[in-house]
Point group: C2
Amino acid sequence: MMKKVLKFGGTSVGTIERIQHVAKIIKRDYDAGNKIIVVVSAMAGQTNDLIQLSKSIANDFSKRELDVLLSTGEQITCALLAGALKKININAQSWLNWQIPILTEGDHTNSRIVNMNVSKINNFINEGVAVVPGFQGISKNGEITTIGRGGSDASAVAFAKLFNADSCEIYTDVDGVFSSDPNKIPVAKKIDRISYDEMLELSSLGAKVIQSSAVQTAMMYNIPLQVRSTFTDRKGTTIFDHENIDYSKSVTGVAYSKNDAKITLIGVEDKPGIAANIFEPLNKAQINVDMVIQNISSDQKTTDITFTIKRDDLKMTKDILNNNQKIKYKNITHNDKVAKVSIVGAGMVSTPGVTYKMFKALADDKINILAISTSEIKLSVIIDEENTLNAVKKLHTIFELD
Amino acid sequence: MMKKVLKFGGTSVGTIERIQHVAKIIKRDYDAGNKIIVVVSAMAGQTNDLIQLSKSIANDFSKRELDVLLSTGEQITCALLAGALKKININAQSWLNWQIPILTEGDHTNSRIVNMNVSKINNFINEGVAVVPGFQGISKNGEITTIGRGGSDASAVAFAKLFNADSCEIYTDVDGVFSSDPNKIPVAKKIDRISYDEMLELSSLGAKVIQSSAVQTAMMYNIPLQVRSTFTDRKGTTIFDHENIDYSKSVTGVAYSKNDAKITLIGVEDKPGIAANIFEPLNKAQINVDMVIQNISSDQKTTDITFTIKRDDLKMTKDILNNNQKIKYKNITHNDKVAKVSIVGAGMVSTPGVTYKMFKALADDKINILAISTSEIKLSVIIDEENTLNAVKKLHTIFELD
């Protein structure tokens, strides 16, 4: 007998037939004697439809009312799934954000779950399946809040943590976590086991299978996560603690993102506080700066600073750099046709030559590296966008991920 | 300065453009210095769509979960309308069933509002417009409940009563209450003032402009109702107390329903308890029996009982009458091509000859009367369905409603 949190994403509950299929998956686990809390997303497309409705009233639609609006999506799935479970003779009940309650802190549309009352649901799951909404909660003033797109993963982990669950299973529309995007890189393979760290790097690099903040919370409280498919019986990926991982492979996955732009400020005065002057106004404008590389310039009095941003933010970034009196430089260049390719692996740090191997592989294919950034378990390079898929495939082969 | 409850039905908030239009109507009243509570229905079609979803899982979908499901409809309208009001610079806020809370008693899908906490909203409407959901509430156990189709009218009246509002305005897609259905009877005219009693008879006879239980509550607490159009500036109909009505006209309106069937049991033993034996099993099967007429039979030991039901219930009714051992009769006949036509007027009781005038008018047009039923302010006849519109037009002319 285990206490389990099962989370089903929007595609998994996207139609009535799929909701009925999900009910059967839950029944299998319930009939095996487990205590079950099910966290659901809104049916696929519904959240976008509701956002569209709000935008047709106002682009700056009230965030408080947006939360009231969007939270209906998961409420609908809760009711339908609880009804589908009852239809196959499982005692099931929906519990809404205010009925539990799920307490959150933070701003509307961007809250985080801080606590919930577990006693009523703990009683109920002795005799039935509790179905609860992902993505939402209530503030201490009793207002509906939501926790950001993809927040149902974070909800599932919060439930697993606060209910002391033995496992947290994220059911989704793919078989698990892959060494790279299997739709684009046919040689990509499913990863059976991956550490929290590696998963975090992979998700922050664009692997969308599970939300980063959910992985962070799971890591902090050491909650093993399982990512698996709603539509097949395959085993999925287990995300867990470093120490339980076999590091015979130095690299676990290759990630890439193609919506980047690179900006270089040439001839920036090389004195303390300069970087802060540059990045403070960007931060204020909510422009997310990703990689930052600083080189000494030839004259040794000035320096060149290169950084990458989302391509959509390029125009605003340039406007800020051009109009801010505090930011002084000789010249500015940009390239909006770049991509970031990264290799990720907790075993990298103990395996010599990974860096060299990567650079050589790219050089062999005449792929020019425009910038480099490293961390303990990740190595990212910026390259011309047109070379992305070639680079990813090559790195897959070199690091034996095929 | 008045305290007003404004209620907008599903058609009135059926699209974003209409919600924006409704916001302007509210602004006009708010700018005039009134304190305003707005009760909204789900956007037109949404409740039906949700019911369809539930039915595709199970025809006997859990009523508890159906309430959870359906209540999202009004929640969506609340959020969108509050957002639309804010967009035009009105301080507005949505309040959900559990936030107020709106307390109900009774079964799921069929509850009634018994109380609510008025203090928070009373404070809020000093500085802004409160937008609240119709059709729903919560039980004393904190479960979501709904109060039946069309229940938003009853919600509006409950708000008007509990908040001691000066007026309750029902905005809908017609100009007000008509002497008959204006889509079918072109000579039908809008009624400016009508008593609660008359309105009750008209609604129970098929005039769908406002829900009967809402009128009942309004009558009980003497809350004047205004029915008016969201889409025109016309004056609408005021529904209020008997005593304030001018009875120069004996008949206020002509109603009809076309989905009736008539059953006659011939030769039923004429002794106490017989009628109960017949109607108890029908009641159990939730078959709504409308008119009942009993005649003495020629042999004086047996009697004939005629009653009308909804046409959809005909088969089930006949099955029950055929298979129930307690119900004894010589013969059974039925006619499923009948309609009920009624004249309604609080002035009827004090105006001699109304009954005669009606029967003569129908006889003049060779319309055969199959059954008759009367009340203090209503006179209904069952006729062949094909004569319905002719009868209604004729009665309109005879009673000078054109």
